[in-house]
Amino acid sequence: MISRAYQHPLNSSRVPPGETLLDVSGITLRFGGITALDDVSFRVTQGHVHAVIGPNGAGKSSLLNCLSGLYRPQQGSATLHTRAGGAEGNGSPEAAPTTTHDLVRMKPHRIAALGVARSFQNIELFRHLTVLDNLMLGRHVRMRHRLLPSLAWYGPARRQEIEHRELVEEVIDLLQIQAVRHTPVGALAYGYQKRVELGRALCLQPALLLLDEPMAGMNAEEKEDMARYILDVHELAGVTVMLIEHDMNVVMDISNRVSVLDFGALIADGTPAEVSSHPDVIKAYLGEELSA
Amino acid sequence: GPDAGTGGEDGGPIAIGVLSDLSGATADVGTPYSEGIRGYVDWLNANGGIDGRDLELKLNDYAYDVARAEQLYSQYVNEDVVAIQGWGTADTEALRQKVAQDELPFMSASYAETLVDPEETPYNFVVATTYSDQMRVALDWISEDAGGESEVAVFHHDSPFGESPVADGKKHIDEKDLDLGYKSYAMPSGATDYVAQLGRAKSQGAEYVVIQNVSSPAAVVAKNIAQQNLDMKIVCLNWCSDELFIKLAGDAADGHVMVQPFAPPNSGASGLEDAAQHLESEGGSLEQKGLHYTQGWYTMHVMAEGIRHLVENGTEVTGPNLKQALEEMGPVDTGGVTQPVEFSAESHKGVDGTGIYEVSDGEMTELAAEATP
């Protein structure tokens, strides 16, 4: 797995690489008179970095919000495939039975429990909590919470705080945020906050990682760092990533597949090279200058 | 630990704790009442005290807040008071167990009938006619005024204070077999009008509205009756039977009736003179302070008479002794301000008669001096 000796697998999906992990089909989302998503269909393959690009207001964030249950589309489905076993499971995944879940019919916290983790476009951290608490909240669905032991700081409540801390520390190490562990995130510089948000998602041991513009507002150097973290997670831990990003250089360099939205509709879907030479994409998104 | 106070060493001042509402929900009437208590004590001390011993008041504002009343009560116990002058229903209720336990006689302006039974509340003394008796007197008067048959609507404050006489009134009608219809209506606080309630009273056919509430809302009812040209007569009990009602209702007050155990300033009762003179010496007047001042004055007077009884007999001034003195000393004369006040070991109801007044030309004119149920 990851080069350094991490014990905990970050990827909780047992779907074999190359198979379909997520099947988005015919999603239509309207706000009053505005159609934010218009019959969008595509697939996300296990083991890919799947970029979603498109002009502002095209519906990219809305799409992610549908997948994580925050918006409820009027039509369509988003089928997530899982295999029994989970993160620590043994046995061959190929043999395990497949289950499907239609994400658009589920509550956000159920979706998270399936391992769909995400970051947000405008940094939605728990501002008054420390980095550590934010990351521990990423472990929330993997912990059991019972009232009396919690009030008494006794038995399971205490034990699991310590157990889960180990994985959290690995994520802290991976993202190099050791120094700010105990700092309230609201006081952190923007770049750190972005990193913590990624970390919080990773702590969930994602089966599918949704990242909404993780590199917005960064300079070239910082983008390189962030790209490195995402690639680590992807290449070394094997996590499937869905990524919204406006920097075409990043998209071209790190993604396996790209879907392009414009005015809510899917106008292209393919490899980075295919998409970047697609005339509609150039017209709606890239502009002549960049396509070269 | 705090037990019954001793009133200090012989010859020293005798401490009384006073809980007053000077800034809370009932401060409008609480203030003159409290001033009456203080005025009496100042007057008494200026005139030689009780056989040379002064009364010392520990008087504080509790802002009609029960928790504050409890704090102050502890403070008073700590300061060795021999008795407590309380004020409203809330503090009287909250402290009735404690005063019994600490053996401190307690008087207040809450005249609920539940407080007169020494078996239940051995240290509470009710100086004036109870709300229930006032209600009985009011109903008797109505029955007479109407010539037998009539309908009565009772408008009451939505609280223990307001509800206190409601059930007893009903019982009284049944017992005395009065030919009166009887219905009660809660008055929500802070209403701008009571037209809806009056409308219901009207459909009941009510000719009389008995009000157990304070003056401001009662005045609103009076105004509403005038505006609506309703043919209803208000009978105020105790807390709206005062000058304030007349002042606030203006012309609309005329013709309404008041049941008030304490004689108003214009009644010419001889017992008012001391208070009037005392106030004048301080540059005030009894007319200006109103009858609640007298109420405080004589409530304190009754307590002081109990203490005088002890001092004159050479008995130590303690809570239990004071209780006994109040029960045994016989009637206290108030110079016609109230009927003589007398307690006994069986009953802590001081008086059972009350005056009845009618408002005419903005003045309270007496209809009956000593109406008893």
Binding site: L125, R127, R158, I162, P184, L204 | S74, Q75, V77, A90
Partner: protein
Amino acid sequence: MPATATGVFHRSYASELRLRHTRAEKARLVLVALLVLTLPFLVSPYWLTIVNQIGIAIVGAIGLNILVGYTGQISLGQGGFLAVGAYSSAILHLRGDLPVPVSIALAVLTTAVIGALFGIPALRLKGLYLAIATLASQEIILFTVRTWDAVTGGTDAISLPRLEMAGFVFRKDFHWYWIIAGFAVLAVITGRNLFRTGLGRSFMAVRDQDIAASAMGIDVTKTKVLAFAISSAYAGLAGALTAHYTGIVTWERFTLDVSVLYLAIIIVGGLGSIAGSVYGAVFMITLPALITRFGQDLQSAWSEAAAKVPAVQVIVFGLVIVLFLIFEPRGLNRIWQRMKDYIRFWPFRY
């Protein structure tokens, strides 16, 4: 940024999760324990009454802080929940003939259930809209208490006998001190514990960003209802204690003013801080008592204007709160933190 202990190194996560690390912190704990144990022997009965009222307020304030400070659901209904606790314990004890500890425990549960019920609007409402909805719950509860004669005895007060356990009668403030202090300490400890576990963290997550919280797998609905239930449970305990301690249950004790007072306690003390709830309770209960004292002095110094003293007291009370919050809107807890920081970093600024 809260003060963090510097210069402390941990060898295990368990040791890091302890509440107190430095020697100064442990020494403070010992001091506080000593104070709690000796206090009733040191103060006059008058102050003991106040101390007991503070103790009960601490329990209620911690409950409210769990809801408002930690979960971000503003509530103006604390008075109502105190009433539920007081009435249910009184009724269960008198009519159900249950021993007081049982009636208190059941009252806590009852209040938790009713709190959860009145927490349901919180699922749809936010901020001030929720605050007013909880105000509505306060009014509805008190109305029910006043009109449900058969159960609550209507507007009349319920009188309770003195608490008696194993033949011992808890008569004085001194006796009650031990019960109340015990519960106050328990409330502090459980409160502190709650917020170092995942459960408490999820409350704070909902407060800071509920959308992100749901996307991280927190069931926001359940969390909010649970917060209402836990918070009300503390309120129920405080109410039940009030009932048995004062021996009288009357709805007049639980009006909106009380809800506002509790809100004031946690704001002045510090939102989202257990210690703040304690400081706030001490401050807000002692302040009127001190002002009364000040009024007494004022009266003797300025006797011609004695009639004005009550008004001056009211003004002073308001002014102290206003000035205090202008000086430090984040409460007493924050002042304490700053003082500690100041001492630690002295004489260096920045």
